[in-house]
Symmetry: C2
Subunit: 356 residues, 2 copies
């Protein structure tokens, strides 16, 4: 890790990771390049932050694709073009504040992007407090967008109860790992779908899932059937495509599908629509599928955070992270995430000054 030691008097120099060209298919590290730029001092209402952690998210792939899309969340309005600095959520520390709400030394959750330092509007920052026994990066994981998304799916949308059998796709991921644990804490039977025997074993032994099935395995459908002998009443869906199709095939009558992501489509682009063989079961089994968007449900975020923080403190939710060190390695982190490497919340540690 090359932590930046830039002098903060006068101008500030920052490294920035740019999207060099938009990918057309699989993303590689060759789609990025680093630049170094000089930042101005923060204007009135602005804050200079030092980046500590970058969030690495599947949806970053989606915003690189030049598609007609909705102006919501990371999609659309935050779309990236060639040469743009990579955007993304960050946990940082305030270096210089030109706003009365923040002081130097405050920890903040923001949208600093892939750079060592960022000028951010104070109005877009949220002060975050360290949580006992947890790294600061927990505000990008279980207490950040992934955790809130999991809560919105399991609690608000699917209203999971103890009598449910809940199928969680991308279960070893940042959202799925929390979703499964939230469902377990409600007493439901929880079955995860993940890639590879190692992740499946980890879901059961470390996160307490009742079963996990490997979508990369040749006998995936048979594994899924064996893991859900009484069918599935709830799907928390993050993947779409063949994984969702398999899940649909296991749904019980009147089942609920909380749709929070379609990872499969992010790499493939919107051009290649998936033909769901089991689409008709939505009708035949009287299912309800609800797409939900974290940015449209902000009225519920506070309730989600209260439960998530309590669950972390009580240990009913375990934080799991895959951390890559150094801004220069951020492209590797994203490419690895999209290739299914690692588990839990994927992060880049940009600066370890505040490690404890």
């Amino acid at each position: 890790m090359q932590t930046q030691q830039t002098a903060l008097n006068g101008t500030v120099s920052t490294r920035r990771m740019l999207l060099d060209r938009a990918p057309d298919g699989d993303l590689t590290t060759g789609h990025f390049r680093m630049s170094t730029d000089v930042l101005a001092q923060p204007a009135d209402g602005e804050v200079l932050t030092r980046t500590l952690y970058l969030s690495v998210d599947p949806v970053m792939r989606k915003i690189m694709t030049n598609r007609t899309s909705e102006p919501n969340g990371l999609n659309g309005v935050f779309g990236l073009g060639a040469g743009d600095p990579m955007r993304g959520r960050t946990v940082g520390v305030v270096e210089v504040s030109n706003d009365p709400k923040f002081s130097a030394g405050d920890f903040v959750l923001g949208w600093g992007g892939w750079q060592d330092f960022a000028i951010e509007k104070a109005s877009a920052l949220v002060a975050v407090a360290p949580v006992a026994g947890q790294p600061l990066s927990v505000h990008l994981g279980p207490l950040g967008r992934p955790g809130i998304t999991a809560w919105l799916g399991i609690v608000l949308t699917a209203k999971v109860e103890a009598s449910d059998t809940v199928l969680v796709s991308s279960a070893a991921g940042a959202v799925g790992s929390v979703a499964g644990q939230l469902a377990k804490s409600r007493g439901a039977r929880v079955v995860g779908i993940a890639g590879g025997a190692e992740k499946c074993e980890w879901l059961v032994s470390t996160l307490g899932f009742d079963a996990a099935v490997d979508y990369k395995s040749a006998d995936f459908l048979q594994q899924l059937e064996e893991a859900t002998p009484d069918g599935v009443s709830v799907i928390h869906e993050n993947v779409g495509g063949a994984v969702l199709d398999a899940g649909l095939g296991r749904m019980s009558a009147e089942g609920r599908i909380a749709l929070c992501g379609l990872l499969d489509g992010y790499q493939a682009g919107i051009g290649e629509a998936f033909a769901y063989k089991n689409f008709g079961l939505l009708l035949d089994r009287g299912l309800t599928l609800t797409g939900f968007r974290i940015d449209e449900l902000t009225g519920h975020h506070q309730q989600a955070l209260v439960e998530l923080r309590g669950s972390l403190e009580s240990g009913s939710i375990v934080t799991t992270e895959t951390v890559t060190e150094g801004l220069e390695n951020a492209p590797d982190a994203l490419v690895g995430l999209l290739a299914g490497k690692g588990s839990g919340k994927h992060l880049v540690k940009v600066d370890d000054s505040f490690d404890r």
Copy 2:
């Protein structure tokens, strides 16, 4: 029409239309054949009925296909094999009753199937009363399964309000024509999708739809866009495939889709899954899609019938029928329905003794 004048003393001879062989693709009249059989006298708890009207329904095509399906409604448990008499709902009159609940001359809604006379279990029959100004066949249309299905979609599932723009597919059909009128009576803007300019004109001029678009037209998508300048907040879906995909593309954020039929799939069979280009909008726009099944929602039928009967009596719902005369022409009626001919509720008038 060859109305049967079979003597009712001793045995009863009835014509029966059989499914001669299961279709593999488009249904033709060649898939049927007529037989004549002798019926026994009704046993205890049974009733001999004379068929007045047969219901002709798109789902009849579905139950002819040898597919793995759910044991609900007309599907699955009622599946048809080669040589089986065609099943279906009927309005009939009791000729001989061997059950205290019914007397000769009572009008009943039953499952008599495609035959002149039927032996039916009294427990499976519902007494129906003539409605002023309406033919008896109204109990197969707006006061039968199609009307109840429309109500379950518009009122129970989508909860349509005056602020909604409601898109109704198969709008000139038995379900769609009632669904659109129910939505209109709630003050919503209603746009129908139908096949051909004539049906579209009829939806607007006779049924009072605000607009109608022709899915067979080369500029269907443009027509749909022009008819829904502010988007669509509710879809009552009966068709699926390209028609649903087009509707999804017009959905506003947080829109609701009440899925009550997938006619497109009935002819094609389950093997050819449709690739929805706009599936991702379920996520991006936070949509909710609910499949619903009339036979699983029987607790709501009475409420539906009360409103539907009142709407018929007040004239806020107009009954529309396509009537084919004669049991021998029932295959023509079904083939025509599946080919998109006619509008409203499709019926076969088997016996005109009670015409008024």
